[in-house]
Amino acid sequence: MRLAKRLHSAALRNRAFLGALLLFAVFYLVYHMLHPRGFSSAVLIQNTNESVAIVFVAMAQTLPVLTGGLDLSVGAVMTLTNCIASELLTGTPAEMLFGALLTLACGAAFGCVNGLIVVYGRIQPIITTLATGAVAIGLALLIRPRPGGEVDDDLSWAMTNTVFDFAETYGLAEGGEAAWLQPFAAIPVPLLIVLAVVLFIWLPFRNTQMGRTVYAVGSAEGAAYMSGLPVERAKIAAFTLAGLFAACAGLYLAIQTSSGNADVTQAGAYTLNSIAAVVLGGTSLYGGVGGAIGSLVGALILRVISFYFRILAIDPLLQPLIEGVVLLGAVSLGALRTLRVKNRLELFR
């Protein structure tokens, strides 16, 4: 009874997130039903591959938003790290591992600089990151003036297919034939990568004092300060983690496309989509409410919408129009609750 009550109140608190999850589930199920090769491993792999980058960028955007800011550089940091990775992901496995770690470190460092400027320069996040985002694109163009790169082909193949393909490529688990591996053999590797980042970076962070401080700062910065919390360090941590997640996106993009591309338009589009994904996933733009898992689901919703254009005969020229309308509709669902609020003062709290 008590458990039921607690579950109920937890559900109420996470209403926005649960709504997003439901929306995604419905969209994706219908998509599979309409797809000629629906419910197949091949479609799943293709979909996950196309979703990883936006999922990571949306997770990256979540942290600055939780503190009550916006990060307009997440797309640019993805592009920058994409170009860095395209230079580093070659040679022996050890070299490639080192290259991957260095790429992630670059992203985190860039995010950290964002945080330092916001905190010690006392400049609003939105304008700070507008500037540093341009810097990131500039650096990316210096590294890779034209698209290209020599990312290891085996790596690229192994990371963008199923667990079986991964094992086969690297001769692990008897070339993928081991009996214990079979239950997992069909799972796409990119799905596991996202899961690993959520399980080993996001969830632990959320449960540290630093993570909680990020929420506290976004919800009531004055109260957080008065409670003796490390407000400044929490903001820096939020931007650093945002840089790291954006670098995850850049790294994966390099592996997926076997190349780096300093694409300005793409960087901008990813940044804007990340904001949409964060909102769809139930994170408040005022800060303090939400989480990266919600943004992950939000990003998936955005992706599924675009998948539909492939299987339905819709004029490609109409795509932005329809995407915009669907996005507006989805975000409006979140506003439905305000119709039920009987004390109108609560709308402003």
Binding site: T208, A216, F348
Partner: protein, 506 residues
């Protein structure tokens, strides 16, 4: 018995804000095991003093010693490490985190570097139980709690930091009577444990009941410190304001029948209002009494058009129906004004200039066509400032720079600009100094004499007794008693608040 060793000692402490002295050469000490009251009007320097002690502000000069060792705090966290914990008037809770998260915010129990939620929850439950708030769910968001419950969470949070000097800044002003008693008991318990307490309150009877030592501040100076009982109330008030005060409340006119302006019958909303009957006549001040949270605030909000789906009949100036919104309430034929519960969020736009705040409800009255007429606006602003005697530097200063009492005057002045017929007041004197309180009482009576109707909710029974022509006491969403004239006594209000017959209370 309080020991004689001071826990904290200040000498020669001075602090200025933009050239204005907030504290001047203050020497002050607080002993262990003492409950020490700090008295003074708003702007006397009390808040600055405790902010310096708790690490929010740094003094310009002077020194501070804790148990004889000189200290200097640059953040509240450093002060908390020394055992100085402050319960601030402006709540220090984070609305989007759970009660348990908030209580353990500064130093949560950890396992492997991560917060141990189970242990945290248990600890929060223990602390809540210690202040008899088992009814608060540790998993609820602070956002969902009422102001009085939040205040109790704030107290639990302070307790969790194991204070050696606990500072309560108007910490009881939002509490229900039951919780106030709990806090009294808690302070007595802490005193036994040799914890020092600094207690700031505008309610003299609380100070009487609790404190053993009193210090009076005025204009940034420490005037005098003395043991309880050494001076009469009158002498203390004299020290505080530097002059004698006449009777606290303006005289009440003879009761007579009045033409009702507001008539409420069987008003219902959600499960908070359960059929309210009430009437307020022109020229009359009607008080709303009862314990905190019996529906008084909701009633005022309903009459002001804030709540949706209100049932029952309401007649305002002969017209039936509640206003559709605050905008409608303000501009209807019979105009309604509400001085809201929380002046910082609902009453004022803190970061805007005083002038803009004053005009906010009355732009239409100072405009020609779509444009605000500078000259008309200036006239209206200076008239309002003069009428309420608001003490300010320039009307262009942002309103947040004013003291609490003057901020409240701005809220009231703003509403008087629309020349309301019915004035709803939600605890307008909460956290305000004695002098300003008296001005507000006087103003209410003047408004009534001009023929306006006043409906006044107060959590302070003395105000209801002193100010009101009639008092409607609420209990559980209903009016359970209507007191009139000489019948308005503390016993009668308390008995009705607890919904018991007066004899049972005696």
């Amino acid at each position: 018995m309080p020991s004689d060793q001071p826990f904290i000692q200040l000498a020669g402490v001075t602090k200025s804000f933009q050239g204005i002295r907030a504290l001047e050469n203050v020497a002050f000490a607080c002993r262990k095991g003492s409950i020490h009251a700090i008295l003074g009007e708003n702007g006397a320097g009390k808040s600055t003093l405790i902010k310096i002690m708790s690490g929010v502000l740094a003094a310009d000069s002077g020194e501070m010693r804790v148990e004889g060792r000189p200290v200097r705090f640059s953040t509240p966290a450093e002060a908390a490490k020394t055992g100085i914990v402050c319960i601030f008037q402006e709540l220090s809770l984070v609305p989007d985190l759970s009660v348990a998260d908030n209580i353990m915010l500064a130093d949560p129990p950890k396992r492997f570097g991560m917060i141990d939620r189970r242990r945290q929850r248990r600890r929060a439950e223990e602390l809540l139980a210690r202040i008899r708030c088992e009814d608060i769910d540790p998993d609820a968001l602070v956002r969902q709690l009422s102001l009085s419950r939040r205040q109790m969470v704030e107290i639990a949070k302070a307790l969790g930091q194991e204070p050696r000097l606990l500072i309560l800044d108007e910490a009881t002003s939002a509490l229900t009577s039951r919780d106030v008693q709990t806090v009294y008991d808690l302070l007595a318990e802490l005193k036994e444990q040799d914890v020092a307490c600094l207690f700031i309150s505008h309610r003299m009877h609380e100070v009487e009941a609790l404190c053993d030592t009193l210090s009076v501040f005025r204009n940034g100076r420490h005037i005098e410190t003395f043991a309880k009982g050494e001076k009469s109330d009158r002498e203390i008030v004299h020290l505080m304001i530097g002059r004698d005060v006449e009777t606290q409340f303006p005289p009440r006119p003879e009761p007579r029948r009045r033409e009702p302006l507001l008539e409420v019958k069987n008003l219902r909303w959600e499960n908070r209002l359960k059929g309210i009957d009430l009437s307020v006549g022109r020229g009359e001040i009607v008080g709303l009494g009862g314990l905190d949270g019996q529906g008084q605030k909701e009633l005022l909000l309903a009459l002001f058009g804030v709540l949706r789906q209100v049932e029952g009949t309401v007649k305002v100036g002969g017209m039936e129906g509640v206003p559709a919104s605050p905008a409608a309430a303000r501009s209807a034929r019979t105009r309604i004004a509400l001085v809201p519960e929380d002046r910082k969020t609902e009453g004022l736009m803190l970061q805007l200039p005083i002038a803009d705040n004053l005009l906010a409800s009355a732009f239409a009255r100072v405009s020609s066509g779509p444009f605000i007429d500078r000259a008309k606006a200036e006239t209206a602003i200076s008239a309002a400032i003069e009428k309420l005697r608001i003490r300010l530097g320039s009307p262009r200063d942002i309103v947040a720079t004013l003291s609490g009492g003057n901020q409240q005057k701005v809220v009231i002045a703003k509403w008087l600009m629309v020349e309301p017929d019915l004035i709803l007041l939600n605890d307008p004197t909460r956290g305000i100094d004695v002098g300003t309180k008296q001005e507000i009482y006087r103003l209410m009576r003047d408004l009534a004499e001009e023929g306006k109707a006043v409906l006044f909710y107060s959590s302070d029974y003395a105000e209801l007794i002193g100010c009101c022509d009639r008092v409607s006491v609420m209990y559980d969403g209903r009016v359970v008693a209507e007191l009139e004239g000489e019948g308005i006594t503390e016993e009668a209000i308390v008995a009705a608040s607890l919904n018991i017959a007066p004899e049972a209370a005696a």
